[in-house]
């Protein structure tokens, strides 16, 4: 028990290191001294470097920090709620719902997450609202089916099917959209942490932190739900209410990240497993904070891996996350007989 808790400070140290490294290391090489000077407000010999650190790297790193934590926590909440280790925001179609919302705005109305086009101030607000709407619409459908279908694997498959349907609507939107809008949507779909500007960062961070705090408030009912809904009800948990709170929290976190960063795969699915494997427990008192920290660490790591060494190109985020996430899931499935939380 004691050495398990010791992992939390360890993860925090990792997080700080990765955070620092991400500020220093990027497609444009800037000397460490200069970065420190810039961050300390001493200015720099090059205004371009100053701009890169303040306006590009810092918001990107903070975005990765919150996006990783948000996605990982949504995955954890869904896995506990549906009592299925393969549940996650992308598998249950919630990301696809957010996708669809974003696609509708980006492709049909021509809104934009970064630049201001047809409707200036409402541009990114419209995208976020659409993502939220899409995510909650899919969540609503999943909730409806979860009361009809008791088998969790079947529910997961229904989620995948609904995801396909959302994707098909997106294809139709793509087909009829203008070429430049399609390009913008495809770029968004590759995923990245750099779309959040310094001006948007407070909004993004506040929504994300709100969702994360909400998840921390749900720790007690989450633990009771490990025993199943009937046991939880007998322990005095208001199951319906808890279920709605968990799903709302998941929808909020997934939608905000998807709206700004694109549909990021695998972080939501894999990080809760990484946290459980590291801690060896399903107790949410440790698991929720560990998942938050691990999610941030993994996102920052992905952000670093996106930088191709020796060149000034950046890989798409969704090219990196499956490389980290998929092996974790395969490992977990193959070793499920030896992993206690499966049994």
């Amino acid at each position: 028990m004691k050495n398990r808790i010791a992992l939390l400070p360890l993860l925090s140290v990792c997080l700080v290191l990765l955070f620092g490294l991400s500020l220093v290391y990027g497609a444009v090489s800037i000397p460490l001294r200069e970065v420190i000077d810039i961050l300390c407000g001493k200015g720099s010999s090059s205004p371009a470097w100053e701009y890169i650190v303040w306006q590009a790297r810092l918001p990107q790193v903070v975005t990765a920090l919150f996006a990783g934590a948000s996605l990982a926590v949504s995955g954890l909440l869904l896995q506990t709620l549906f009592r299925n280790p393969l549940a996650g925001p992308s598998i249950l179609g919630i990301s696809d719902g957010a996708n669809l919302g974003v696609a509708a705005v980006l492709l049909y109305w021509g809104g934009s997450i970064s630049q201001v086009s047809d409707f200036p101030i409402t541009g990114y607000v419209a995208v976020i609202l659409a993502a939220l709407l899409g995510a909650f619409a899919i969540l609503g459908i999943i909730i409806y089916f979860s009361s009809k279908v008791k088998n969790n694997v079947m529910l997961l498959i229904i989620g995948i099917m609904i995801g396909y349907m959302a994707s098909s609507l997106i294809s139709i939107l793509n087909y009829y959209a203008a070429a430049d809008r399609v390009h913008a949507f495809v770029m968004w779909g590759l995923g990245n942490f750099s779309a959040v500007s310094m001006e948007q960062l407070p909004f993004f961070s506040i929504v994300s932190v709100t969702g994360l705090l909400l998840s921390v408030l749900l720790i007690k009912p989450l633990n009771a739900l490990l025993l199943g809904e009937m046991y939880a009800a007998n322990l005095g948990v208001k199951v319906k209410q808890a279920r709605m709170q968990i799903l709302f929290c998941t929808g909020l976190l997934t939608a905000i990240v998807t709206a700004f960063c694109g549909p990021i795969s695998f972080i939501g699915l894999a990080v809760p497993h990484i946290a459980r494997l590291l801690l060896g427990t399903s107790n949410h008192k440790l698991l929720v904070p560990a998942t938050i920290l691990a999610g941030s660490c993994v996102a920052l790591l992905c952000n670093l891996l996106m930088v191709v060494p020796g060149s000034n190109t950046i890989l798409p985020l969704n090219a990196v996350t499956p490389m980290l996430g998929a092996p974790v899931i395969i490992y977990v499935i193959i070793n499920r007989k030896n992993i206690q939380y499966f049994n």
Binding site: M1, T80, R83, L217, I219, K220, N223, A224, L226, L227, G228, M230, Y231, A233, N234, L235, G236, V237, K238, R276, G280, T281, S282, N283, K285, Q340, Y341, F342, N343
Partner: protein, 340 residues
Amino acid sequence: MKQNPVITTNALAIGYLLKGGRRKVVHEGLDLQLRAGEVTCLLGLNGAGKSTLLRTLCGFQPPLQGEIYLSGKALDSYSRASFAMTLGVVLTEKTNAGGLTVYELVSLGRHPYTGFWGRLREADRQIIEDSMEAVGITHKASQFVSELSDGERQKAMIAKVLAQQCPVILLDEPTAFLDVTSRIETMALLHRLAVEQQKAILLSTHDLDLAIQMADCLWLLAKDKPMVAGSPEDLILQGAFTSFFDRGMIHFDSLTGKLNLVQKNQPVLVRGESNLVYWLGNALKRNGFDPMENDHADIEITAQTSSRMLLHQVGREPQTFTSVASLMEYLKDMSSFIHN
């Protein structure tokens, strides 16, 4: 002196509400009384409504009609929290608790008592320790639930329900997936808890033998029949079992409390020490003979020791057998010879 009942029901009807306001009544007119300090077993064939009754008493589904009183108060007047402190359950529902330690699992029983964050106080910790001690799982406290055997896992769940400190405990088939020794252990444990902690314990089971042996009270539930309740012995002597379990070839033997296959069998007279007579009878019944102890029959067995049994047949020399198996083999050959 009988205790006051902890659960009473009044003309209770159980079942399901279907679409369009129609009702599917599984059982009605139930007037039940569950007493403290006793283990009550709910017996019945599949489809008799055992699970529906348990779910209704647990508050998981509303009764179609009638009232349920829990410790003198109507069930639907309980708040969620106070209900959780009054009635605890052990279910057959699959749990995902493998990644919790036994201590953490048992501590979930304190859920209704702890605050928003679920922080355990000293008193809570003491209760958790005591609960683990009472079921004898203290030595496994820091192990993961996934590392436990089925019997230990059931003990841990019972410890959880003890930590919940409810006067009433309802268990859905707690012995279903256990091996023979764990079954008896679990039942003995429940009986001890009922007596020592004055709990009212109700469990559903298919284990007729064990229920007759260990239960203070039985509830016999069958489709389209009024429910019968009473001590096992009274029910057997009144012939209540016979009418509940007799079906086709199955017959309830009120002397042994066992269900038997009814066949027209050749009678065999068995003589000897009671232990030998009992087990020879067991083997004879299985092989299609009808053992008896004081009548006349064409075949007679005199058991002198477990390795010396004499077989007498009318008009033949007595034969000696050194094991029950060899004796049975001979009798089977003989009867198939006669039948063909």
